[in-house]
Chain length 224, copies 2
């Protein structure tokens, strides 16, 4: 990756300690991947869970989360918005054709507003309700909702490589959302989606992004 200008690099924030033990699910992975796809170098500032909720970080991110993105007087939050910002300013993540570009953006919103919410709801239940008497019954209900989305997504994808023509920011976000299910067993019914994920994570840009995020966890783990 070569920098062709002398501006300061964009800076993103990421977790100081990996909540998923380096599985690559934290939302900075989306931004790292997008930056790697377009060949833009970046700096990372690590923040602790405590620091995220302090005023200094909340000035960057109103909801006290990561990632944030800073460049030349612009501060952004929301991984979807940051990926779109990167995709709009560099080639590689959105088609030059206006209609194909609009459809890729529709897939970005679909990933984050239609597919991810039932998956996050299921994860939250596993984290916070696993010892409740209602857990088994609710999990069945949540699995059904996730299956409904996966079935529809799988049908639409069919035997195509990507959701709409070339690989786009829509695929990037959708794959990061689907990866949240890798340990759930729910993807087993959808070989089409498993192949889609495998195809995406085999991309060199994904591999570089994953390794960079993992290195934070590994170094921390070694360091103590």
């Amino acid at each position: 990756m070569t920098q062709t200008n002398t501006l300061p690099l964009p800076t993103i924030t990421a977790f100081e300690r990996s909540p998923d033990r380096g599985r690559g699910l934290a939302r900075d992975s989306r931004v790292r991947w997008a930056l790697e796809e377009v060949g833009q170098a970046y700096d990372v500032r690590l923040v602790s869970f405590a620091a995220m909720k302090q005023p200094a970080h909340k000035a960057l991110h109103p909801f006290g989360q990561i990632p944030t993105y800073e460049e030349n007087g612009l501060t952004l939050f929301e991984s979807g918005a940051i990926v779109l910002h990167i995709a709009e300013r560099h080639a590689g993540l959105l088609s030059g054709d206006a209609n194909a570009r609009a459809r890729a953006i529709a897939w970005m919103f679909a990933a984050l507003n239609t597919v991810e919410p039932p998956i996050i709801e299921r994860t939250m239940a596993m984290l916070f309700e696993h010892d409740k008497p209602w857990y088994a019954e609710r999990l069945t209900l949540l699995d059904e909702r996730v299956h409904a989305r996966l079935g529809e997504l799988s049908s639409r994808l069919g035997d195509a490589d990507w959701l709409d023509g070339e690989f786009s920011a829509g695929d990037l976000l959708m794959v990061t959302v689907l990866r949240r299910l890798e340990s759930s067993g729910l993807l087993a019914n959808y070989p089409t989606l498993s192949a889609y994920i495998a195809r995406a994570v085999a991309r060199p840009a994904y591999q570089r992004a994953f390794a960079a995020q993992l290195a934070v966890f590994t170094e921390k783990a070694v360091g103590g």
Copy 2:
């Protein structure tokens, strides 16, 4: 509203019967409002709940929902993507300043990926778990999550009229999300947010959009 060209109007889809009895919460309201803000006339095609799940509609919307948006060979789904598409092609919903525009888009994603999911989860629990023995305990938990978001949003808004400078597509989506809580009582703690919603729904474009959506319900109710 004046049409200045002879192209066919964009066509959106909306529910044939209002699931909220005309309260204006169905997602076509976002698209109607955006179109009214920018002064773009549109056609509406009403679809039944059964028809939404049929192949003809799923060809337009992979998840079998509304709204969709069709114009000149382009078909879009996802209300967020449709609102962004409209905002990019007309003045009035995104700033001409590149940084302000990017920040408004961050608020669009925040509305749909950070604020809406816990609100929808709460609504789903009210619809599908109200007769379960665990309902009261879960509702408390869900209310806490919604309150966390509302508190952060209220703090960021402060005494400003809108989330970032002028009214934008970010405010439009955020207000439609917050309106889902109007009957919950949860907004009572946040006079700042209640005033924000009131300011938005007083806009003539919102009023026209609401009236157009309500007319579908009213006419259906009268008709049978």
